[in-house]
């Protein structure tokens, strides 16, 4: 009861401060608000992105080019956040070395093939659908330059395809395809790919994540196409990490860290 009173007071104070500020905002949808067009006397970042990003990177999707190039450092740490969350969850939940469980695991193994007809129907459907999902995920990753999508979205979908396998059959079926050892590795390799693009730029004498400097490696006409190609590489790195960690988080949460049986 006390917490409800306290909550009401806190919410009332915070809410009234926020609403007090709202009356001062530029109107909703105003294209010339400071956020959209900058303030007089200084160049607007957002207008720069809209007007110049295609020339700088040859990527039509402005969001992708800003995400992976201009603010690529943020995105790298965003991937690190996912990696850290995965590691934190393993550190908290993972239960290791339980003999009894491994015995149970062996017994569990065949529940898909014998008995349980619901699982056969669902499982077969999933087997048909999963390749399509994965293909779509790869398309989303690769086509992020031209349409909504990119490493995160594609990675999540790819991770979800493994989650679907785990839901429809059992967790072991999914873990056979992406084992614990491999998902930790895959996650590390993903960030490694991302950082490697940055470091290659450093080696070639430019700043970290300056993809334009990678021109000699990609043998493109100008730095723009090098940026465009690097962005694809970076997105693939992000997709690796996200795929691995999204599935790993589910696997650990669904099995209370034992990685057997699942839901």
């Amino acid at each position: 009861m006390l917490s409800k009173v306290f909550a009401t007071i806190a919410v009332a104070i915070t809410g009234s401060i926020l609403l007090y500020g709202v009356s001062d905002f530029p109107a909703f949808g105003d294209p010339h608000s400071p956020a959209n067009a900058g303030v007089p006397g200084s160049e607007s970042v957002s207008l720069y992105f809209i007007e110049e990003s295609y020339k700088d990177t040859k990527v039509p999707n402005i969001v992708t080019s800003v995400l992976a190039d201009y603010r690529g450092y943020d995105t790298m740490f965003e991937t690190v956040v996912i990696f850290a969350a995965g590691m934190a969850i393993f550190a908290i939940l993972r239960v290791v070395g339980n003999k009894e469980e491994t015995a149970a695991k062996a017994a569990e193994e065949d529940s898909f093939t014998n008995g349980d007809h619901n699982r056969i129907i669902v499982g077969t459907t999933v087997r048909i659908v999963v390749p399509v999902i994965q293909l779509f995920a790869l398309y989303v990753v690769a086509h992020g330059h031209h349409s909504p999508g990119g490493g995160f979205q594609g990675g999540v979908i790819l991770g979800a395809s493994f989650i679907i396998i785990a839901l429809a059959e059992n967790l072991n079926a999914a873990l056979r395809r992406l084992s614990e050892l491999n998902y930790v590795r895959l996650a590390a390799i993903g960030i490694f790919i991302y950082a490697a693009f940055g470091i290659m730029a450093q080696v070639l004498g430019s700043n970290f994540l300056d993809y334009g400097a990678l021109q000699p490696i990609f043998m493109t006409d100008g730095p723009e196409m090098a940026r465009s190609h690097s962005m694809l590489g970076v997105e693939i790195g992000v997709a690796f990490t996200v795929t691995a960690i999204m599935f790993a988080i589910y696997a650990n949460l669904a099995s209370r860290g034992q990685l057997v049986k699942g839901l």
Binding site: G21, F49, I189, I191
Partner: protein
């Protein structure tokens, strides 16, 4: 080469963590060398950066080379304010790495490499926060450091520790979200995310600087950071979260997490809003000083009521945060309060590290969790106790240690600004610290005369490390080396306070502050 240092500072721990992720599961013995190596790279990088900054002025680094117009890319900046802090973080990180040898592995060896990965990522987050000059990038790195610290606190926690960790997650996320909201308000009014750019826009457009939205942005950023640093009314999560976590985690989080938040607050005050705007046009700096006074008194009094060593130290952190926030908000003409607060960040990192390391060793080797368990500790472990005494004296504020000098500057600032209540609170808190620590010394030296009816057998769930095979015990030096090094640092930092403060002053005097208007 030197101009690539800002990137190297964060990349070294990142690669260390990735390498451990790739090969760490096979053999846990590779974790420690990798962690130490990558942190050493950062340590020397931080020293090189500091050297460069103090001879050639601030270093600006534009990730991806997106320099103009300002704010399209991510801007990293090392100046006199954070160069010292970088060295402090790197030092603490290296020392704690030594302390963590095999300590984490004892309960569950298969998780050792996860500990090191999280630890390195936490270091990465802290370094990133320190050098960030982009408001949103700061948020991302705050989240990196928060998520890793949630994991570290929860992974080895005892029974009540898990619940404390859950509360920590909630509070930490709300704090970070408030910060994000404040940044959103700033972006809405200025159209930029780069700290320097926002500062110029606010400085050149008075009508924007006076708008309600900017004030609210400041309030939310401030409250968000206050939650993160456990400032007085919002400190509830800290004592449980830190005291129930494993020793090596507590040793790293306690000295750094709150201090880094104080740094973020000072950075936002100086580099985003500008001190003039805060102290002159906002006009409620004295309210914050009063809050700090309450924080100091409450922290000290609550510390007096504790029986567990670690919990007592946690409440002392709450009081110390009050020192720093109060000092930063004193708004005296010569900015001595700010100087004291900045110096205290360094001093307090060393003091807290020393005390937590000692407390960790007491728990580890003597199963001494409560103050009364320390009976006869001067006989059992004279050297550890000696280092503990140095840390305690610094906390009280006895002359040759750094604690004295930071209090000296804080009090000078308080006197200049005419905030007598702050000076009074500082003195009372020192007195309480003296009572607190001399009580411990007495017990440790003479033993506890009145036999308390207190049983020493603890609930097995409550003690973090119980039956440990003797061959699993960590080497003695792994605990003692960092402890003695910290004790030496405390004294050195005290003796050489002049040069350190001079470095801080050169930075503060360059600030465009109209002293007369304050």
């Amino acid at each position: 080469m030197v101009d690539q240092i800002p990137a190297v500072l964060v990349l070294a721990p990142l690669f260390g963590a990735l390498l451990i992720g790739l090969i760490g599961h096979r053999d846990h013995r590779v974790c420690f060398p990798i962690a130490l190596a990558s942190l050493s790279v950062t340590f020397f990088g931080a020293i090189a950066a500091a050297q460069h900054v103090f001879t050639n002025g601030p270093m600006d680094y534009f990730v991806g080379g997106w320099e103009k117009p300002l704010g399209i890319g991510i801007h990293l900046r090392i100046d006199a304010l954070n160069a010292l802090l970088l060295i402090a973080i790197a030092t603490v990180a290296v020392l704690v790495t030594f302390f963590s040898i095999r300590r984490v592995g004892e309960k569950n060896t298969e998780k050792t490499h996860y500990f090191y990965i999280l630890f390195l990522l936490l270091c990465l987050g802290l370094f990133g926060i320190t050098i960030a000059a982009d408001a949103f990038n700061l948020f991302v790195l705050i989240e990196v450091s928060s998520l890793t610290s949630y994991g570290l606190i929860a992974m080895g926690s005892s029974r009540s520790g898990t619940y404390a960790a859950f509360n920590y997650v909630l509070m930490g996320t709300v704090g970070a979200s408030f910060y994000l909201l404040g940044v959103g308000y700033l972006y809405l009014t200025t159209g930029s995310l780069n700290m320097q750019d926002i500062h110029t826009i606010l400085g050149s457009n008075p009508e924007i600087a006076q708008s309600k939205a900017v004030t609210i942005a400041f309030i939310f950023i401030l409250v968000g950071i206050w939650i993160k640093m456990a400032f007085f009314p919002l400190y509830g999560w800290l004592p449980n979260a830190y005291s129930y976590s494993p020793s090596s985690t507590a040793c790293f989080l306690a000295p750094l997490m709150t201090k880094i938040s104080v740094y973020v607050m000072i950075r936002v005050m100086i580099s985003v809003f500008g001190l003039e705007w805060i102290f002159v046009s906002l006009g409620w700096s004295h309210l914050v000083v009063w809050l700090a006074v309450i924080a100091i008194l409450a922290g000290s009094v609550l510390a007096l009521a504790q029986r567990e060593i670690k919990k007592m130290l946690c409440y002392l952190i709450v009081a110390e945060v009050g020192y720093m926030v109060g000092g930063a908000w004193l708004a005296d003409e010569g900015l001595w309060g700010m100087t004291g607060a900045l110096y205290h960040i360094l001093a307090d990192a060393a003091m807290t590290l020393c005390l937590f390391l000692a407390a960790g060793i007491f728990v580890k080797r003597f199963r001494a969790r409560e103050i009364s368990d320390l009976e006869g500790m001067f006989r059992k472990a004279p050297w550890v106790m000696a280092a503990f005494v140095i840390g305690a004296l610094a906390m009280i504020g006895v002359p040759p240690t750094c604690g004295f000098f930071s209090k000296f500057y804080l009090i000078r600032g308080g006197l200049d600004a005419g905030h007598w209540e702050y000076v009074g609170a500082l003195l009372i808190s020192s007195l309480i610290n003296a009572v607190l620590f001399f009580r411990i010394f007495e017990i440790a030296f003479f033993g506890n005369k009145p036999a308390e009816g207190h049983d020493h057998s603890h609930d097995p769930h409550e003690t973090e490390e119980l039956p440990v095979a003797s061959n699993e015990a960590p080497p003695v030096w792994s605990g003692n080396l960092p402890l003695f090094a910290t004790a030496v640092i405390i004294i050195l930092l005290g003796i050489y306070n002049g040069p350190v403060v001079a470095l801080i002053r050169t930075f503060l005097e360059e600030l465009p502050i109209v002293a007369s208007s304050l």
